[in-house]
Amino acid sequence: MNAIEINNLTKEYKGFTLGPISLTLPQGCILGLIGENGAGKTTTIKAMLDMNRPDTGTIRLLGSEISAEQRNEIGVVLDEVGLPEHLNAKQIGRIMKNSFANWQSDVYADYLKKFSLPDNKKFKTFSKGMKMKLGLAIALSHQAKLLILDEPTAGLDPLVREELLEILNDFTRTDDHAILISSHIVSDLEKICDYIAFIHKGKMMLCEEKDRLLEQYGFLQTTEENLNALEPDAVKGKKITKYGAEAIVDRALVPATFDVRPVTIEELFVYMAKGE
């Protein structure tokens, strides 16, 4: 059973069309959804959670269509944590205990301690990092099998980001757990993701295993003439400057005489998006 299966999802808004989006996330894996601001990452996530109705396509989470009961097994942290400002962590814990069927109060308390979150201070007094940590504590305290995180590291300092990424990595050590994490901070995703999906202007550019992407593509710096001499299919995105040309190339289609260096996911995305 796949954790997430999306087939030909489309959603049309005035001036923006999302899709068609198709992606699959196997259990035990982490999928990074990368895209610039306004690419459609949050819209895709909201469609998964039935917060908006897609125009076409099918979405299956944990093997079935989304339902209220199924959300017991899905932990969600959106970019705005969305908790009542006048309540404290203890009260929020009680609310969640009465909401989620598999709520574990002891696990929640442990996370509050681990994240050094006070349980008697109002949520509005928390910093952005603390709010995100509380959101994550909630998501991890009801035996969720799937975590969906929308820009969880945005606005966080490097220490907190590192801490969060470690926790997410630990989460997928259990075989039937999976994470979908969307971000435009690609360096974070590159550290932990097994699969990478690029969304650019509402279109899915690719959805592949990270290691395969890094093996398949490389970064080439050469002259414009040399670049133009390559097969068109070999060049996935390029930038021409007065000093030369830089391009993301398919290693298999580039002669061995060219010096192709390893590429980062960030470079891959930037050049592919520019090439569109």
Partner: protein, 233 residues
């Protein structure tokens, strides 16, 4: 639903939440002014609507969509919460009426009938606001509601000042409803019809009012469910 009710009651439990109804109760009893007691119903009727707005500001309404509640449950909880607030209002106002005693109300029946009418804001404000809030969002709904209330107040005032004016027919459905009451002549004017209704036995007025509340609440609930089903976040 327990979690949702828990959250709403936690939000209610703050000093202002207790203070306002308590002060109104005290003032109404000491000064023997029942209309001050009726403001308890206004306050508790407006409270859930204000809380819906706060939910939007804090993005709790979006978080709700990630929790194991169906849209139906979310709507039902709000109506249940409003009903519980109406019961609290009835209890507080009822205590106030008891303390006011015969100085203000000649008999128990009049007091009970007055109490039923005084609860109107507590029932009607959510009933009118919820369908709009669930369909368009609380902030848009509040603006729409204010515009409608201003229009209604304007038309109502103008129709009193100019009874023969062209918009009097807007009141025909209400007048027709009043004329269904037994003993009210079909050709009676609106004022005469209303006076006739008020002459009925108090128990009948209470019964008809509560039935009216129930019917309007059910209609509102059906509309709210329908609107919320269509809403995107």
């Amino acid at each position: 639903m327990k979690g949702l009710l828990c959250k709403d009651f936690y939000q209610l439990c703050n000093p202002v939440g207790y203070l306002v109804p308590a002060l109104l109760l005290l003032a109404g009893v000491i000064l023997k002014m029942p209309y001050l007691l009726s403001f308890i119903a206004v306050y508790l009727g407006a409270l859930p609507i204000g809380m819906l707005q706060n939910d939007e500001i804090s993005r709790w309404d979006i978080r709700l969509m990630t929790m194991p509640f169906s849209r139906r449950t979310i709507v039902a909880e709000k109506y249940l919460f409003s009903l519980l607030l109406a019961l609290i209002a009835a209890l507080l106002i009822g205590c106030g009426v008891l303390f006011c005693g015969s100085a203000v109300f000649p008999d128990r029946a009049s007091a009970a009938a007055w109490l039923t009418g005084a609860l109107m804001p507590c029932i009607m404000m959510p009933v009118l606001c919820y369908p709009l809030s669930f369909r368009f969002g609380a902030r848009k709904a509040n603006m729409l509601f204010m515009v409608l209330m201003i229009l209604f107040a304007g038309v109502f005032s103008a129709s009193i000042s100019f009874p023969d004016a062209v918009f009097v027919p807007l009141y025909y459905p209400i007048i027709a409803l009043i004329k269904f009451f037994p003993g009210v002549r079909a050709d009676a004017s609106a004022v005469a019809a209303l006076n006739k209704v008020l002459e009925l036995e108090k128990s009948r007025i209470i019964l008809y009012t509560l039935a009216g509340y129930a019917i309007l609440t059910i209609l509102s609930w059906l509309l709210a469910n329908r609107g919320f089903r269509k809403r995107s976040f």
